[in-house]
Amino acid sequence: MSEAPLLAVPLLSVTGLGKRFGGFIALDNIELTVGTGERLGLIGPNGSGKSTLVNCLCGTLHNETGSVRFDGQKLDGLVTHQRTRLGLARSFQLPRPFHTLSLVDNLRVPLTFTVNARPGHRLSAAQTDARCHELLHQVGLADKARRLPRDLTQVEMRKLELARAVATQPRLLFADEAMAGLSPAEVEEIIAVLLRLNEEGITIVLIEHIMRAVMSFSTRLIVLVAGHKIADGLPQEVMANPEVERAYLGE
């Protein structure tokens, strides 16, 4: 997989992206590309702009400058649901389930509004139902299909969050701190799920603080510090970079 960038055109390319909140520059001139099939780790201290970057790429926030291309198509000006339909999915840092809907119906939302909204992909009601259960089965929540999100444990909630993002049949998935606050065994579980998704052909950008998880998962690392990209390369090389060390450990 590390030789993935066989294609000349990257799946996602970001040029000159900038975002400010009032006088605060959250992201400054970010340049990056993501190749098809990659497992990219995006790291950086708290407040370095990781989630803001994801929000800009997914259309939740509007970047003032710069341009984003996905699969050769310009995303600028598109709202979130349009980007989702093009194949860009995300999980939220804090799980945001639809709390009055059962787990099956939680997954029925993206299937109905994304997968069935794409031309030529319409599933029948029975197929949609089957797909919901299949997705729940994949993350080990099949026996809770009729339950409400409030009946789930923290790790199950994260799995539901991932399943709901995967239900959109994305080509690129942003996993925003999918493992924060989980035990080491639970972290392994989530990594296993993400690795399997990647093998199935989904390009994944992992935003994470748990370095062990990042190092074992990523084929490439990008480091953000105070809205600037300071490193981009193979994980071992990036971690040996003195600038990264300084950002994390101080002088």
Partner: protein, 344 residues
Amino acid sequence: MRNGSFWIAAAGFGIAFVALSRVLFTNEYYFFAAYVVLQYIVLSTAWNILGGYTGYINFGTGAFFAIGAYSSAVLHKMPALTEAWFGIATPPIPLPVMILIGGIVSGVLGLGTGYLTLRLRGVFFAIATLALTVVVQTLIVNWDYVGGSRGIYIIRPADAPLGGGYIQYLYTLMLVLAVISVGIARTIERSRLGLGFAAIRDDELAAEAGGVPTLRLKLIATTLSGALMGMAGAPLPYYVTYLDPTSSFNLAYAVNSVAMPVIGGMTSWVGPVIGAILLGTIQQLGSVGFFLDLNIPPTFNLLIVGLLLILFVIIAPNGIVGLVTAHRRKRAGALAAVAARRAA
């Protein structure tokens, strides 16, 4: 029950109800009272499409309702107007057509309001709808053609189209409207649209990330909700025969159409119906002095609504429907536990 069979059952119920009421309602007053209860079924069901399904609280029911009523008042004066302008009096417009037009006008108002205000969340949206009532009322008060603040007298046509008195005709039309709105609400609840509405209510950001076109869906909700409210208001001029801004923009419409779904239960189509029948009936009985043989002013009705509303918000925030489903779930859980113990 499938959607088709529900519509047939609802229509059957409506016809049976009309037939039965012609036999049972020995006094015209019953038609007057039933009309108001039915009108509240339409209003609270319409309110719930936006407030209950998508979670946007609308305090502007009075505006949409009055726009429907005033559009009928304008249409009522149409024959006189064409005679004055062109010398030919056009035939009077039938009430069902007025209801349709009132619905369209209020629907457009709903769409416009939605477009301007749906970027606001939560309490800010509610405040904007409250302001809408004030704006629309000010416009009507200053519009002389429909009587301004003096109000306007509407003379009912001499004959009622369905036999019986004119009030029976109004009552039948309102019953049809109630059946249609409840049918629409239930159809939405079980459709793709209803799923999208529920996702918006639970978490708008997550809904959008899941591909739900939230703005478009919310506009559908405001338009539909506004249109149904306007349709409920359209026959009002013929019901009261004297239409004025103070009574047609009455606070009672806004308060009741919020209180009824809250008391009945907001997540299902049954809730607003139960709430409207319960509160509507209590208010009708109250206004004829059924409970206490005292001379209670009609404003006392709103006090009852307020007290019930507070009671329900504290004790049963999911309304009567919520109480029933919680009870059922508890029983199902207990039964499952017993079965598990037996098996073990």
